[in-house]
């Protein structure tokens, strides 16, 4: 077979002179080695195909512009181009790491936006407002304990010291506050959830 006998240097020469078939022979002859080399560094078939393509585009342009000095080292030259493109790829990725979705895995399965939506925000504000109105309706002593406990985050010990009652009394007032609020909520069927 002719393509087995013709050396790379002659095929390169023929290609430069216009024989497109010479390029076909060269690519078929060396594609496994070059692609295998690229894949061994990149470990991604799609990117390896891209780099393989870019490598040969450079080869084609250099040969067609007659800028190539044939020194019997076609394959090492192509491998060097591939190698440089691999380095360029890693440099680019370092600056901007890229994540590619596959069918099995979507980036959105681990990345989600937990911030509340506008609708949730409005509902939250409405619930807070309704709650405050309910609290205002409570008897003063119960309201005082509830506000200190829920809005000022005080312990019952601190509440009892400030209000001058025992801890048990403060606890009792809190309990009654919550019972009264539940009664009003049930009576008027107020919805206080998101």
């Amino acid at each position: 077979m002719a393509n087995v006998q013709l050396p790379d240097s002659l095929l390169v020469h023929n290609y430069i002179e216009g024989d497109e078939n010479a390029l076909t022979i060269l690519i078929n002859r060396h594609q496994s080695k070059i692609f295998g080399f690229i894949y061994s560094k990149i470990s991604d078939r799609d990117i390896s195909n891209d780099i393989f393509q870019d490598t040969f585009i450079k080869v084609i342009k250099t040969l067609k512009s007659k800028s190539y000095n044939e020194e019997g080292k076609f394959l090492p030259w192509v491998m060097r181009i591939a190698h440089n493109l691999i380095i360029d790829h890693f440099r680019k990725n370092k600056k901007m790491p890229m994540f590619r979705e596959t069918e099995e895995f979507s980036i959105f399965s681990i990345m989600s936006d937990d911030s509340p939506t506008i609708e949730n925000k409005i509902i939250r504000e409405q619930v807070d407002s309704d709650l405050r109105k309910l609290i205002e309706e409570l008897p003063a002593d119960q309201k005082e304990v509830l506000v200190m406990r829920m809005y000022q985050d005080m312990s019952f010990k601190e509440i009892s010291e400030i209000t001058g009652v025992s801890i048990n009394t403060a606890l009792g007032r809190m309990r009654y506050a919550l019972m009264n609020m539940r009664k009003v909520i049930d009576k008027h069927q107020i919805i206080l959830t998101n």
């Binding site: 497109e20 390029l23 076909t24 690519i27 594609q31 496994s32 692609f35 295998g36 894949y39 390896s48 195909n49 393989f52 393509q53 040969f56 585009i57 084609i60 342009k61 067609k64 512009s65 007659k66």
Partner: protein, 47 residues
């Protein structure tokens, strides 16, 4: 019945680029002409 033992050979598939990539390169090469001027070169892709 005697068991049949077969030696499974480990086949490492030869790494090759996609056929479409090779096809593209060959078509690209056929379409490309480079003309060199004084200090510039022009790449022409024929449709």
């Amino acid at each position: 019945m005697a068991k049949i033992y077969s030696k499974k050979t480990l086949v490492i598939p030869t790494m090759k680029p996609k056929k479409e990539v090779v096809s593209f390169l060959l078509n690209y090469s056929k379409a490309l002409s480079i003309i060199k001027g004084n200090k510039m070169s022009f790449e022409i892709i024929a449709n």
